[in-house]
Symmetry: C2
Subunit: 348 residues, 2 copies
Amino acid sequence: MSDASSSKFLNRKQVNETLSRKITIALDAMGGDNAPVEICKGAYEACTQYEDIEIILTGDTKRINACLTPHERIHLQQASEIIDPDEHPANAIRKKKDSSLRVAMEMVRHGDAQGCISAGSTGAIVAGGVLVVGRIDGIDRPALGIPVPSTGNVSFMLDVGATVRCKPENLLQFALMGSVYSRKILGVENPQVKLLSNGSEDIKGDDTVLAARELIERQGALNFGGYIEGNEVFFGKADVIVCDGFNGNIALKLGEGLIQGLKSMLTDEVKNSLMAKAGILLLAPTVKKLLARFNYEKYGGTPLLGVKGAVLKAHGRSKSPAIVSAISAARKFIAEDGTEQINRDIER
Amino acid sequence: MSDASSSKFLNRKQVNETLSRKITIALDAMGGDNAPVEICKGAYEACTQYEDIEIILTGDTKRINACLTPHERIHLQQASEIIDPDEHPANAIRKKKDSSLRVAMEMVRHGDAQGCISAGSTGAIVAGGVLVVGRIDGIDRPALGIPVPSTGNVSFMLDVGATVRCKPENLLQFALMGSVYSRKILGVENPQVKLLSNGSEDIKGDDTVLAARELIERQGALNFGGYIEGNEVFFGKADVIVCDGFNGNIALKLGEGLIQGLKSMLTDEVKNSLMAKAGILLLAPTVKKLLARFNYEKYGGTPLLGVKGAVLKAHGRSKSPAIVSAISAARKFIAEDGTEQINRDIER
C-alpha cells in the first residue's frame, strides 16, 4: 500500500495539488452575535476574494436565504437547531444532532469539507472537534492557538481556552503542535518554544509546568527555551508560548480588557484638556494603526489544533471582515495541510 | 485576663493610640536592584514626610552609612549577609540567619518593629513571612495583594505570587483576607469579592476554582459576586479579585508588559509621522497622568497578608519614591492594625 492511500490525510503531492483545486469549508451560519447576517456577508466577500474556495453554509436555509447574496461557490445545508452559548457544550453537541455547528462538523468528519468555522460557543466547538471531527492519534486534548501581537515577531500562543486544566503530557503535545503550526503556517524556520510561568528561573512554575518542562527537555525534538514570564509575552520573546487553557484564557482576555480599559481611561482624561483633544486628533491614525495589531478581525480564526481537520473558532462578535479572515486562515491551514503536518510530527 | 492582654495583637484602644505614638518599621537596606542607595534615600524622605515613624535599616552598616543622610528617627542594625534573587527562598531564609532580610523579619517576630519592608526576592520575603514572622492561626498560606488600576474603583487583587498553586481552602482564606483589607485599609464599605476565572458562567472554572466558589458560597460571610473574567479586571467590576499565585503573577506581569509593549510600539509608529510626533507632544501630560495610575512607585508596597505583622514587598526596581510609598503603606497597615483585623475575621 502506498503512503498516500494508507493515510486518511493528504500526502505532499496531494497538498501541492490542493492550491490548484477547490478548498471546501463548512461555515456555521447561525453561530455568533451577528449571525446569520454578518456570516453570510463574510462568506460572499471571501468568495469574491479567493477563487479556490467553496463554502457550505449550515443553518436555517430560510433565514440564510433572506440575507445571503447568492454566489455560485456558496452552497446551503439545512440544519434546524442552534447551540446556545450557555448550553453545556458536550451535551449540546451530543443532543443537537441537527444543529448548524454539528452539521458543519459532520461534513468535515465525512470528508464533504476539509474544514469548518464557527463564531458560536467556544466550548461547543471544542466538544464538537473532539466528539464529531475526532482527535489526531497521539493527541489527548486539543488546543486553541492565537497569534499574539508584539514589538518583535508574532508569537503563537496555545492553549487559550480549549483544555481548561492540563496534565504535563498535554502541555508537551501543545508544544509540539504549536511548533508545527509556527513552522508550517506562520513560516518561522526553527520556532523557539517557551512555557508560560511565574518566573524565568528553573525553580519557578507550578507542579504541572515543572513536569512539562522536564518532559519537553527529555523529549528533545523541540527548540525549547524554558520559561517565559507574563511581562515578556508582548515582546516577541518566543515563537510559541505554551500554557493551559485556564491561564491562556485569562491572559488573552486580560490583554483585550487592558487595551479597552486604557482606551476608556484615555477618553476620560482627554475630556478635560483642549490640548489633549488636539493631540488625540493628530495621533489618531497612528493609534489606529497600532491598535489594528490587536484587532481580532485581522487574524479572525483561532485554529483548534489536535483534531482531524481544519476547525476554526471565529470571535463571537465577528462581523464580515473577521469571517473573511477566518476563512482565509482556514484556507491556508487546509492548503498547507496543517492537520497532516501535526499528524506526522506527533507520529515521530 | 483581659481581651487586650490575652492577644498577641493590639486591641482597639491600643490601635487608636498607635497613630499618636511611633510606628517602627524595619527596612531591608540591601534588597532590590538599587540597594542600598535608593533604600536609604527613601527612608530619609519618608522620615521627613511622616513624623510618627521610626525606621531601622538592616544590612551592612558600613555601606549604609556611606550613602545615608542621617536622621534622628533612622537607626541601623548590622546584618552581614544578603539573600540573592536566585537562591532557593526557604533555604536562604533558614541558612542566612544574619541576612538583612532575616534580621528585619526577626525584629517583627520579637516585637522590635511592627512591620518590615524589602525590595528583595519575593520568594524569600514569602518564606521569611511564614518561617520567621509566622502565620496567623487559621491561615494556611499567605497571599500578596495589589491594588489594580481601573476605569472605576480600584480593585484589590490577591494572590499575585506568594502561593503558586492553591487549594480551594486557600482561595477562601484569600477572599476573607482581601475583604478585610479592602474594608479596613482601602475604605470600601461592603467590598464585593470575585474569583478570577475563564468565564462568568457557573460551569466555568477549573476544579480548584469551582470548589473554592462552593466553599465561599457555603461559608456565607462574604459579599460574593461569583466569577470575574480577565477582560473585566481593569474595569473595577470587583472590589476584591481572588486568584492563585501562579495566575495572579502571570496576570500582573502581563499587564505590566502590555503597557510597556504598547509604549514601545507607539514610539516605533510615531517615528514615521511628523503629525503623530506633534500629537504625542500635546498628549504627553495626559498620557503621563494615565500611566501614573499603573505606576508601582505610587502604591509601592505589596502587603503579604496572613502573617503576624505588616510585611511588605517593594518592587525590585524600587527607587526612593517607591520606598516612600511602601513605608506609607506599611504605616497605614500598622496604624489600622491590619494584622489584628484579619486575625479577628478569621477567628469568626
